[in-house]
């Protein structure tokens, strides 16, 4: 099944399915609404527990407002629900402790994750937040694959890793921002030292 044909239905854009399955409504932080099947929700431990705790009936789903997911935007949430719908009913994998972890990226997932790295970052963040184990596995595998055969210099570019000097500068800036008085005290201390004073106080 291709990404475009995945059975996620955006309420604003497409028709509501006529099946009698239970569909939940979710709303992203940019007010986009999604309808997701009960089976698909089971891929996310967080959402599954949430809807269980709410105890919604079919009428509640229609009458009450959509469940707000305030940390995730519509674009990312669409990808997440597309993935959940495609993999609904599949068993949730258990970590067997093998290192490196053996993860195969299926064709559908590879196409779904054929996105820019900013969105991939948000997708991983969402998978972690919603506790979708397999989505987290495949997306993290994609990030791990970026490192293959790279030198440290290339890795710094690929993963935007600051150099030691940049880390030092950032640390200094953070310290100064946290305590503006500290710099003044340090300058005063240096000045007294130059003047030959043994003690600061």
């Amino acid at each position: 099944m291709s990404v475009e044909n995945a059975p996620v239905v955006d309420v604003d854009e497409a028709a509501i399915p006529v099946e009698k399955k239970m569909y939940y409504r979710f709303e992203s932080n940019d007010k986009k609404e999604f309808r997701v099947s009960e089976l698909a929700i089971q891929q996310s431990e967080t959402l599954n527990r949430l809807v269980e705790a709410m105890g919604y009936t079919s009428e509640d789903v229609e009458n009450k407002p959509a469940i707000a997911i305030e940390n995730i935007d519509g674009k990312t949430l669409k990808l997440v629900f597309q993935w959940c719908e495609h993999h609904k009913g599949e068993a949730i994998p258990v970590d067997d402790g093998s290192v490196p972890k053996i993860v195969e990226i299926p064709e559908f997932d590879a196409k779904l994750m054929d996105i820019d790295n900013g969105l991939l970052f948000k997708l991983i963040w969402a998978a972690d937040y919603l506790n979708i184990v397999q989505l987290l596995n495949v997306s993290c595998k994609k990030v791990a694959n970026m490192a293959q055969g790279k030198t440290p210099a290339q890795l710094r570019r690929v993963y935007l890793l600051p150099s030691d000097e940049e880390d030092e500068a950032a640390k200094r800036a953070a310290q100064e921002a946290q305590d503006p008085r500290a710099r003044e005290v340090e300058e005063e201390f240096e000045e007294r030292k130059r003047q030959g004073g043994n003690s600061f106080f």
Binding site: K101, D128, C140, V143, A147, Q148, Y159
Partner: protein
């Protein structure tokens, strides 16, 4: 803000020089593509970041640790598990692999020490890499399918199952310093369950790379080895779980030799009394190539093994024979053996694992 600045610059420069605008466009597209292809790894939530590390090959984790002090500290804090790490010593090369199974190898690190007089590289290609508290001067060398660099030759010779596009060549004549630095560094970022040391006996006797600590599996290859040197090596590595000697073992073994206490022993070319070896052996798995024995030795062995009077720990014995073939029918008749269905395990299970 950046876009506004870029637009302003473009408009200003378009009056001055069209080529400058083209350059700016190229520069902006390059900047965008770099941003687009980059991933903020360290900004990931901790659990997700750990998942990325779990999926990474050990060689990539090693390279990641060289990126900055920060990445090194993170990897030290969250040590990566390695089931089986293999140090391979060949003349002036030290390779470190991680292994998941008997027949797979993933190169983690490759160090090749070169005498100063053979340096023929520009200073700009030399890098100082801090390994385990020691600064090691290294050369980054690309090798690939069509490359003619030393790495390709090395990789072809040892027939790696998987390899990366880059290796590290250490410009240092002192092999022991490099070895110690590499070993310290590896143990800072990896938690290793089993350590295999693979050396040529020739190098071993020249006292090269003798200080790898915690070795659990030892492989000696290439040349014949004297039993007294073997005993010295076994004393140096008291925690051995397996030993493999690829070539001829020269000189007599004493009955209290340390080799008899090792769990898994594989001798490719023994050429002497195999019963002497298996009678003194206290481990579990023993494979002897080209041993000397006869039908009566086999009969005696099987009878005492089955009755439980000897060999309480032994689980598997494989002995190939030097000289004339055995009369198996005679042995079977003596043992009054009956036919039984049995799925023979893969050949490597006979060996050191």
């Amino acid at each position: 803000m950046d876009d506004q600045l870029f637009l302003l610059l473009s408009v200003t420069l378009s009056f001055l020089a069209p080529s400058a605008v083209a350059f700016l466009e190229y520069f902006q597209s390059h900047l965008n593509s770099t941003k687009k292809s980059s991933f903020k790894l360290l900004k990931l939530p901790w659990l997700a970041f750990q998942e990325v590390l779990k999926s990474m090959d050990h060689s990539d984790i090693f390279m990641l640790s060289l990126c900055s002090k920060n990445t090194l500290n993170i990897l030290k804090f969250r040590k990566t598990k390695v089931n089986w790490l293999c140090y391979r010593d060949y003349q002036n090369e030290l390779s470190v692999y991680s292994r998941q199974s008997f027949d797979t190898k993933d190169l983690v690190f490759f160090a090749r020490t070169i005498p100063n007089c053979h340096r023929s590289v520009g200073e700009n290609r030399l890098k100082v890499v801090r390994l385990g508290g020691t600064n090691v001067q290294c050369l980054w060398e690309k090798f690939g399918i069509n490359s003619t660099s030393v790495f390709k030759k090395v990789f072809e010779r040892v027939n790696f199952h998987s390899f990366k596009d880059y290796g590290i060549e250490c410009i240092d004549t002192n092999r022991a310093v490099v070895q110690q630095a590499v070993e310290n560094y590896i143990h800072e970022i990896f938690t290793v369950k089993c350590i295999e040391l693979e050396v040529t006996a020739k190098d071993y006797l020249k006292k090269h790379y003798r200080n790898i600590s915690g070795v659990t599996d030892l492989t000696l290859s290439d040349v014949k080895i004297e039993t007294k040197d073997l005993e010295e090596m076994l004393e140096m590595h008291p925690n051995l779980k397996s030993i493999r000697i690829d070539r001829y073992l020269s000189g007599p073994l004493s009955v209290d030799s340390r080799i008899f206490n090792i769990d898994n022993v594989l001798l490719y070319q023994y050429f002497r009394s195999a019963p002497f070896f298996w009678q003194n052996f206290k481990g579990r798995y023993l494979a002897i190539g080209r041993g000397v024995y006869n039908e009566w030795d086999v009969f005696e062995f099987v009878r005492s093994w089955i009755s439980g009077t000897k060999y309480p720990h032994l689980k598997l014995l494989v002995v190939t024979k030097e000289g004339r073939r055995l009369n198996f029918q005679w042995i079977l008749n003596q043992l009054r053996a009956s036919t039984k269905e049995w799925n023979r395990p893969p050949i490597h299970e006979y060996w050191s694992r």
